[in-house]
Amino acid sequence: MDPLTWTGSLGSILVPAITITAAVFVAGIILQLVMGLFAPEVKLQANPDGTLQGRGGLLGRLEIYNGWLFLLLVALIAAFVVLSWFMPYGEAGILGEMSKRFLPVWIALIVTFALSITFKRKLGLYGKLFDSTIGMIGFGLVMFWVFTAIFVGLFDMIGTHDPLQQISGLKNKTPGEPVPEPDTMFPHYLLGGDNLARDIFTRMVEGSVIVMVIAPLATLFAFMVGITLGLPAGYYGGKLDTVLSFLANLILAFPVILLFYLLVTPEIVATGLPNFLAAFLFVFPLIFFGVLINSRYRSQPSKNTMLLAIVLIPLAVLYLSVVSEQGSPLFVWPNALDLISIPGGILVVFVSVVFVNSPTVFRIVRGLALDIKTRDYVAAAQTRGEGTWYIMLWEILPNARGPLIVDFCLRIGYTTILLGTLGFFGLGLPPESPDWGSTINEGRKLLLIYAHPALPPAIALLSLVLGLNLLADGLREESLKD
């Protein structure tokens, strides 16, 4: 087998085309930026036929050309992706083969976008997202990794090799290197081999699973903690607020990395501190849902009890099986009933990420509650004699959802960054774990000699976080419009 080139036979036409288009586009954008500083302001002129005419002149035309160039660029890249699906193995180069490996993801993305754009008027805020280019790009990037994580994690599809398999002779080999026995396995290491001769491409896509499981869940937990504590702090104010705010500021004043080092070292894990912290932090969802249901259905006892039982019993079982772990100081739940056992490293990472994130959420929720509690509908609920928890959870919280959803997106991105930071310092997760932080950490040690192992996970992490930020930006823009 020959080594693969980057673009194969497609490259000779498409690569120069993409390069030229991209260069012209960037030059156009810069020219437009410079001209924008000196150009006169936008003046709308009424045409004789009653329509309005926007900015004309050189700048206006430049803007239109740039728009077309951008579309052309997207079309060229899409052409590259699509053409490579129909080419025989090896013809489309490394990029083409990767695009082929991601085929299920592309199909899922196309289906999602087609369905969403068709029904966008019926889908509320989610549908409105498809009105903004920024929001669509962000959503596309995020969904790309979500689908990748699903197909890798559940169906074991995209990866080419085993993420831990070492093939001798492929140590630190550059992208496109053929494997020694191409008949028994995928014939190339698409993105080369790492320091331990493992396939970088497979490790990158496997890493998305870990990130996609931990980051949204940890953010959700941080939100539960932040909401359960932030609403009363903002609503009641007074001593409770002072104490809780002081504690939140205390955690926020800690340099995050110092906190991680203090919480995640093996010695501290041996004392069981993270387990206690987990036991404390994981109670909040239980409290949250308990109070949420109870405050709503208090006046209908039979329905209340039933709903509480339906929601709380599974949650409690889940809670006990997560918190109780054999060998840790908190071993309270028999193994026979233990539904899930989280590996110690992941639990520690999860807990410390939740712990770092919740004070910020607390401050946001508190600020929103302070603002919303002066509204008329809250006063109306108070006059009706509703309970305070009802007002907080069913009057204030739904009306704070806009900023909270936007912050949720941003915070998943931030959590991803934090997970990467933990991996970068080799804390928590085992060293052979394929998550992006750990692989960047592995790669950076030999960065000046072999740069290729560190780049794919870095770019993957960047694209996911960028997607989440753009998504949040699009959501914010669209939710402000009405």
């Binding site: 924008g36 302001e41 205390l250 995050v256 080092y261 004392t271 990467g420 960065l447 960028l466």
Partner: protein
């Protein structure tokens, strides 16, 4: 105003005490002390030997007592050990002499002794802080003007193409954590991979002699991540000012657009970013730790990693005292500065 500063100072000291106590507690948990004893003594110590080793050196006293001694409000221990030697905290676990002071803690300026570097913590922290100060100075020189220019240009005309392109750039920069941008920048500009080997990938030589060649990459790596956030805040503040009544008045009077931006809007628009820049320091501290590790620049952040991974208790405490104070003081400055800069609050 005086009362406000006093109250803030009070809260600050309370926070600092709580935080250092937490660090003290976590580093003094028994498994950590056991590791310390084994690395300092020898690795084959039995549990009893560890116990006596720690007991002779005052580590088994109760936590508040140890904390008080470290702080310098309780007299340092003098223990006659089971092995016959008398050890005193104020003599670095050595035999006490006539001039051994009774108190030796942070308040007396005794920061303790680093077990990793075999040096006084005070000296280590001072030299490392100096190195990091150099890095931070250049980061600020790049980051603050860059962020303000981007933010002001974007916020000048809200919704324009300029605004949208610059906002996208700032989103991109906030989405790139230091360990990603650092790795990408090194791979592109410091390795032959892309044929653009213009800079050096390590900053070790920059500790003595910082040149553009060896210092540019670490500086730009930290600056990029903070830049986007400050730029977005500046943009938000600028768009708010540009819709204010007095700007409209100035426009109606026929003042030219550059004049409006430079003379009327800019001053008011820069109040909010000041607070943000000050509050950015704790984040920069994070960035410093990552970048110093990545570029092997042996400054404050690198020291933190060394102290934390080797459980060097006193060095770690010294580092956390400094970093906690940096965070709290910048918060204080941002609060006070905001009051001074904003005439509406100052007069009321």
């Amino acid at each position: 105003m005086g009362l406000f500063i006093l109250r803030r100072l009070g809260v600050m000291i309370l926070t600092a005490l709580c935080l250092t106590f937490i660090v003290f507690w976590l580093t003094n948990l028994y498994p950590n002390l056991e590791k310390l004893a084994k690395t300092q003594g020898n690795f084959r110590m039995s549990d009893e030997q560890v116990e006596t080793y720690l007991g002779n050196r005052g580590y088994t006293q109760s936590l508040p007592v140890k904390y008080g001694q470290w702080l310098g409000v309780l007299p340092g221990y003098v223990i006659e050990g089971t092995d016959g030697d008398t050890r005193a905290r104020c003599e670095n676990h050595g035999a006490p002499t006539e001039d051994t002071p009774t108190f030796c803690g942070i308040l007396q300026g005794e920061w303790g002794f680093s077990t990793v570097f075999k040096e006084d913590v005070g000296g280590i922290v001072a030299t490392r802080l100096g190195l990091t100060g150099k890095l931070m100075f250049w980061v600020m020189m790049v980051m603050v003007p860059g962020a303000l220019i981007i933010g002001v240009l974007a916020g000048m005309r809200e919704g324009s193409r300029t605004d949208r392109s610059l906002s996208s750039i700032s989103i991109l920069s906030t989405a790139t954590p230091e360990y990603v941008s650092g790795v990408i920048l090194i791979a592109v500009f410091a390795t032959p991979l892309f044929g653009m080997q213009y800079f050096k990938g390590t900053a070790t030589s920059a500790m003595d002699d910082a040149t553009f060649n060896n210092f540019f990459l670490p500086v730009i790596t930290i600056a990029l991540y903070g830049m986007g956030y400050i730029a977005r805040m500046t943009r938000a503040s600028m768009t708010e000012v540009m819709t204010a009544q007095y700007i409209r008045t100035a426009r109606l009077k026929g003042v030219s657009f550059p004049n409006i931006v430079m003379k009327h809007a800019l001053r008011n628009a820069l109040i909010a970013p000041f607070t943000v820049i000050m509050l950015q320091f704790p984040w920069l501290l994070n960035g410093v730790v990552i970048v110093e590790t990545l570029f092997n620049y042996k400054g404050f952040g690198w020291t933190l990693v060394q102290a934390a991974s080797n459980n060097d208790i006193e060095l770690l405490l010294g580092v956390s005292v400094v970093s906690v104070f940096v965070v709290l003081i910048t918060q204080l400055i941002s609060d006070i500065g905001y009051v001074f800069l904003n005439p509406r609050i100052r007069i009321s």
